[in-house]
Amino acid sequence: MAQKKLGKQTLQFGSAPVILSKASVVGPKEGQGPLGSYFDLALQDNLDNQKSWEMSEQKIMQHSIELALEKAGLVPDDLDLYLAGDLLNQIISSNYTARFLSTSFLGLYGACSTLVEGLAVGSLLLDGEYADTVGVSASSHHDTAERQLRFPTELGVQRPPSAQWTVTGAGSYILTKAGSLLKIPQVTIGKIVDKGVSDSNDMGTAMAAAALDTIKVHLQDTGNKMEDYDLIITGDLGLLGLNVLKELLKHENLPTDNVSDCGIMIYAPDQDTHSGGSGCGCSAVVLCYLLDQMLKNKYKKIFLVGTGALLSPTSIFQGESIPCIAHGAVIEK
């Protein structure tokens, strides 16, 4: 029996890794949103003087990890390992960012769950004493995602009300063993949940089922209750997805007052994003804000549930349903 495992899917760290520093870089729309002032950097425009959207995304990821390193007083060489992921084919934003850091690198793909996946893998490496310092990044960019997964950016199309808006943003975190108040004591690794939703404009509904599964398993594994957390935050189900999740939780007789979603927090209702934000970058930058709030004592213990819709344009055109996953990480002060 694995000694550090609780129940079925939850991993308990012997010496809880800490989040030493964090940094976020966002696009202009996110900068104008309600959390705008909490982000480290906001671009003036989505292209940011680069030759392509892709290069712009790569730069924001690079800038976020550089900022996180600098805040911690570290240089890339101090990282034992760098973990990063994004939405683009072959995760190129991460690959090109890692090129600048010249440190051991593992690429991750978990769609919007990438950040939590990174925090989980990073924590495992630290607790397993395979590393002393680990960098974790996740990014997404509205225009790169749009052109890869949907349509050219200038095409005049109507988005359905359930569609989410891919966040332009990158968040980076430095994990280490001591030196910060923000600990990650447990993570719950999700399993694929596919309820047969095949509408790529309604990923919130598809992912809500995965989020429910992970939350339920987490409570079961740890014996905790919903009320034990100041905030259970999904990233990112969007408006519709969160409503679905709350409905599903009600079916299970679980309280929903402390449940919220990164995709809803990042934009104001009048920013015309329909169902809210999505993309790896969304939870990656909103977590920066949440950690700030934790340091200000607004929250003591949160459960971050990264939810990923693991579809591809090909699978959608072939009529396949969307396999979803949700990983959870407990962060406490």
Partner: protein, 226 residues
Amino acid sequence: MNDVGERIKQIETRMLERTKTLKSYESQQKPVQDNSVWDNLNMEMQIDHQKVLLWEAEAVQQDKQLFRELREKIEKQQTLAHDLVTLSYTKKTKHLAPPKTIAKNVVLAFLVGGTITTIGQVILNLYTNGGLMEKEAAAATSASLIFLGALLTGIGIYDKIGSFAGAGSLVPITGFANSIVSSALEYKREGFLYGVGAKIFTISGPVILYGTVVSMVVGLIYYFVR
């Protein structure tokens, strides 16, 4: 190991049991709960599946075929079970989906589409008044509208009109210009050959292809019916 027939029978008995359970779920329209009964059912199917798969791999000649058929039956059962999950989940979540704004979309499409075509008519009248023949004026009008659509796409306005008007700005010829120019803009960064050249018709391709096919069919009908 016991013989082939017995092994198949063993699996088939379990399959029959499962079919009963699945049928009961289906007929009673019971919601498929995330409960242990359901999970066990799925796990059992998976275990049977991998068992039969190995038998199939190890078997020779006609036994292989028997196991293969059995495996495919299990796969069908798995699909059936997943369909029930889909059905049950859709039922639970459908009422939460925001209502589709069809009426509003139709009205906006009518107004904006009407405006665009009215502009087209004005341009046509100007050309005819300017002394062009009717056929020449029509071609010149199309060209002018295509130019306007392309221009508005280039300066980043057409996508905003489109998100407001939907089909109203998609169906007129300006929408066709938008689909081509937006692709050209988007893929320019991959170069003029493999970017613009290969992908300029990604959105408008279906219109061109099926437009041509339909015109051929209509032409044939016209030829025979005339």
